[in-house]
Amino acid sequence: MVAPSAILIGIFVYGFIAWSLRVSMSDWQGLIPSYNFTGLDNFAHLLFNDRRFRVDIRNTAVFSVAFLGGATTLGLLLAIMLDRKLPAETFFRNVFLFPMAVSFIVTGVAWRWLMNPALGVRVSGLNLLFERLGLDFLINQWHMTSPPWGMAFVAIPALWQMSGFAMAIFLAGMRSIPEELREAARVDGASELQVYRRVILPLLRPAALSVVIILGHISLKIFDLIIALSGRQLALDVPAIYMWTTTFDANNFNRGAAIGILLLLSVAVLVVPYLWYARRQEAEL
């Protein structure tokens, strides 16, 4: 029964990966495909000669740190809150999880209004709220803050959307920890804080790993959120946007394919060790 799907995946996933790899090592620029072999030239250009790609790597790094750090912290805090058996737990769990059902495009458009950086009489969005509340010191340029820190603000909408997901994973992890372990710690005289620090958190390591892997590959491939939030501007450029513009605006198909392969490799570096680790865990059980 697996043969047909294996064939389809073989062609439409692995076949196209192989084709992209071939294009990434060619001189195909312009509408006519050209497959003269150029070795690793395109990769060398991107990694060593291309200022724009360097900006992209820096932006992705800033975004990933802010997004992963923020999502794990917020997700963990929310999960601990819900773990305390709040009265309306199901309600809050859904409220925190719902933003995930929205597409990044919608999130981007909504936050484009909220994080409007205009000042003076045209102030609007959150800045206007801060002004009305007398919290002028909070008024800022948001994602238009000078690079690379503007990229950290781009993580805010992403956090709004994905923290609930991190919360769900952590909460599931907490619920799978046997109640006896907590009881035992309490009997030994541990405070609630110590129960979380010494018992719960160490046991959440697999859940944290899942969160980092899943959100990590989203942050490496981020595209739609940034386009919806800010259009195309180099200050907030990332590899996926560069891939799109160089392929379809400039017809540099070889460079676009090379960026695609680099993206694939960066995600693989993150995911493959995880799959290997998960396999070993399964084998141990």
Partner: protein
């Protein structure tokens, strides 16, 4: 179990056949899943009509889907329907991003050897550098001779739409890029005059800044390239400017250095939130009285009109960008004839209408542009467009960079990247080095 397996194999084979087979009739174009430029007025709606299967269908591919431009196209289609009732016009418009989304769809159709009958493209290097060099377009010299178009289009634009002696597209309209927009009443209030040189601009800008007015409203990144092309033209003469695009002017030379210096100074007088504004939001700053001037192509006239302002003393005013008096920096939408065009005769009929006086006079007053022909019916156009028509006949002509006339897509993309990086670090020497590299990598300096 066995039947199930057979079924699955059959289904997957069908899927494969479907994926590999060539569509042999015209299909409506699917909208791209991620239509990016949300701030673009053209992205507002997506329009596609069902394609009739008969041979008489003429399928024309455009990115005219919003406001005046879609209505202008409809008016031209009416002329087509009157003149050639044997053909059915099929509108294969793809919305979004001034054609960015449309070009991606077009590229995939050309790769599948399923070109539409005709498509819209900016006249000049945007069509030539991408499609002509790829052998995708037919020369149209025969059509220009049959219709007598060589007499009615300005001589200066023919070389710009030609490659190796062949003409490749029919210009429908002309827009002017180098315009400085303002409100005359407002300038009186601020007590400043319209600057005619960049030095005058800097004096005026200091006075405006002292009053808390933004001297020049700027928008997102492509409007920066638009500003840069007018600054280039304003700091050198037309033949030097033309030389940038054929390799005879050195990008590393003093003329470009001066232009970069002016651009750097001008940027200090623009609004800090520029990258988040679309071009029309930047123009709106002038209407709201927060900014004094805006440099934008003359589609801005349509925007002023839509905001209830007339081209008059109490409404909006315009002047050539400082340093470009007597020069008309132009761009043009045009239609081309693909090799292996679907219904070639019908496509040629469409091109005849697109180049005709009647077709251009139907389209342009609604779209808010002037006809590329010099014999348009002047009673149909408003005061701004009439002044543009006069200048189109009398001024020196120079092509636009940001709108595809003088540089290929690849060259333009490299320049765009260099300008974007400049915006972040404001390092003029690096910008000039990058422009030299861009010209060598993708431009005429190879």
């Amino acid at each position: 179990m066995k039947t199930l397996r057979m079924l699955a194999v059959a289904v997957s084979l069908l899927l494969l056949a479907g994926a590999c087979g060539q569509p042999d009739e015209i299909e409506p174009v699917e909208p791209p899943e991620d239509a990016p430029a949300l701030d673009d007025p053209e992205a507002a709606e997506y329009d596609v009509f069902e394609a009739p299967a008969e041979e008489e269908a003429v399928e024309v591919f455009t990115w005219w889907t919003a406001g005046g431009e879609a209505e202008g196209l409809e008016a031209m289609v009416e002329v087509f329907a009157d003149r050639y009732p044997e053909y059915t016009f099929v509108n294969a418009a793809v919305a979004g991003g001034a054609g960015t989304a449309a070009r991606a769809v077009l590229a995939s159709r050309l790769a599948a050897e399923d070109p539409p009958s005709s498509w819209q493209g900016h006249a000049g290097q945007e069509l030539i550098g991408t499609y002509v060099v790829a052998g995708q377009l037919e020369p149209l010299n025969f059509l220009f001779e049959e219709e007598g178009w060589l007499e009615v289009f300005p001589d200066a634009i023919i070389p710009q739409i030609s490659h190796e002696g062949n003409i490749y597209s029919v210009p429908v309209n002309i827009h002017r890029a180098n315009i400085l927009w303002y409100l005359p009443e407002q300038l009186d209030e601020f007590g400043v005059d319209v600057p005619t040189t960049w030095d005058e601009f800097f004096t005026v800008a200091d006075e405006l800044e002292a009053q808390g007015v933004i001297p020049l409203a700027l928008g997102e990144q492509w409007t920066l390239m638009h500003l840069f092309e007018t600054v280039l033209l304003g700091t050198m003469d037309v033949s030097t400017y033309d030389g940038l695009w054929d390799g005879s002017t050195d990008w590393g030379g003093p003329e470009v250095a001066e232009a970069i210096e002016v651009l750097d100074r001008v940027l200090d007088y623009t609004n800090p939130d520029a990258p988040t504004l679309s071009w029309d939001q930047a123009t709106q700053l002038v209407i709201d009285g927060e900014a004094a001037f805006n440099i934008m192509g003359d589609w801005a006239a349509g925007y002023f009109g839509a905001q209830g302002l007339e081209p008059s003393a109490g409404g909006y005013g315009w002047a050539p960008v400082p340093g470009t008096d007597g020069v008309f920096q132009w761009l043009s939408d045009s239609f081309a004839l693909p090799v292996n065009a679907h219904n070639r005769e019908g496509a040629i009929a469409w091109l005849r209408v697109a180049g005709s006086r009647e077709g251009q006079d139907a389209f342009n007053p609604i779209k808010g542009s002037i006809p590329a022909r010099m014999d348009g019916d002047r009673s149909l156009y408003d005061d701004y467009l009439l002044s543009a028509m006069d200048d189109w006949e009398s001024d020196e002509l120079a092509g636009s960079l940001a709108h595809g006339t003088v540089a290929s897509d690849a060259f333009k993309a490299e320049i765009d990247t260099a300008l974007g990086l400049f915006l972040a670090d404001r390092d003029g020497d690096t910008l000039q080095d990058e422009l030299v590299n861009a010209c060598e990598a993708a431009g005429p300096c190879e």
